[in-house]
């Protein structure tokens, strides 16, 4: 670009539009985080489903895998931030939304475990007195609560980044949330796995493919 070139009004407007568009197109998520979380949640749900269906128990809670996945997530975030040459306003908001989502998930786990603790003793008491099993099973309603939460940051990210696979993934989570209210625990787990695959794993794979293409284009431009 030439130094101090005087512009006509039309040229100025064209330049502004061109640069704003260039800035918008400049950020591409690597998709690694989305792939990892989609895979982790899908694996956890499917393993738990097999535990319920085939009536066995692993020596550890499979959902502990989500805690282990936090370590690579932190490393991925640090690496992505270091490699990023530009920081948009959307990035900052979305980082806070996903952080808030993570906090909400752990709060929901804590609340659910407390309710399970209380409810278990009530259900046993009910069974001892009436001889019947409790008419309300809290476990049937846990998955819809999680699916409702899964949908929120996914939908916002999809809308903010104009990335339709994630937008539809978020909507899919909410559809599964409604369906899961009326289905058994086994189906709930299947819906959770499907949501994780469609909301995170598939969009993550698409993002990763786009990122690789962008990097290739950039490398060709710089040759």
């Amino acid at each position: 670009m030439e130094q101090e070139k005087k512009l006509t009004e039309q040229e100025s407007l064209h330049l502004i539009t061109m640069m704003i568009n260039k800035a918008k197109e400049s950020y591409h998520d690597t998709g690694i985080g989305a792939i990892m979380w989609g895979a982790v949640i899908a694996i956890c749900s499917l393993v738990r489903l097999s535990e319920v269906h085939f009536k066995y128990r692993l020596p550890f809670d499979i959902y502990l895998l989500t805690l282990v996945a936090i370590i690579p997530q932190i490393l991925i975030s640090i690496k992505e931030k270091r490699e990023r040459k530009v920081k948009s306003y959307d990035d900052t908001y979305l980082d806070y939304i996903w952080l808030g989502f993570g906090i909400c998930i752990f709060l929901l786990i804590y609340i659910s475990n407390n309710i399970f603790g209380e409810w278990g003793s009530w259900a046993n008491e009910y069974k001892n007195i009436t001889g019947k099993s409790a008419p309300f099973r809290f476990s049937e309603y846990v998955a819809p609560l999680f699916l409702m939460l899964y949908g929120l940051p996914t939908f916002i990210t999809g809308a903010a980044c104009k990335f339709k696979p994630m937008l539809w993934g978020g909507i899919f989570c909410w559809i599964c949330c409604i369906v899961a209210i009326y289905t058994s625990v086994k189906i709930d787990l299947l819906l959770t796995a499907a949501s994780a695959i469609l909301a995170w794993l598939v969009p993550g794979v698409i993002m990763e493919k786009e990122y690789r293409m962008y990097k290739k284009e950039q490398a060709q431009l710089n040759v």
Binding site: E4, K5, I16, I20, S26, R82, K85
Partner: protein
């Protein structure tokens, strides 16, 4: 009555830099160089002029033992850019 266009902004490279920075929170020097298709020397001079006008903030730091320059538009810069676009639109509607 048309106002004169801001001479600081009415220059190709400075306008390109400001248009890039208005769209993002902050950007590295290398990003601006690549997107504006400018040489490092030319870009440094224009960035210095924008900084002197108070339109951008320039943060110099080290990243992995390499110097890194980060540019950020200031509130004065945002006002000047908005005013520039408003005046530009007025000229075009003439």
């Amino acid at each position: 009555m048309f106002k004169d266009l801001d001479p600081i902004l009415h220059s190709q490279l400075r306008l390109a830099v400001m248009s890039l920075l208005i769209s993002v929170k902050e950007a590295e020097f290398t990003f601006l160089k690549e997107k504006a298709n400018a040489t490092a020397g030319n870009l440094s001079v224009q960035i210095q002029k924008l900084k002197e006008a108070g339109y951008i903030d320039v943060i110099k730091q080290f990243k992995d033992n390499y110097p890194q320059t980060i540019c950020k538009i200031t509130s004065t810069g945002i006002k000047a850019f908005e005013e520039y676009v408003k005046n530009l639109q007025a000229y075009l509607q003439k």
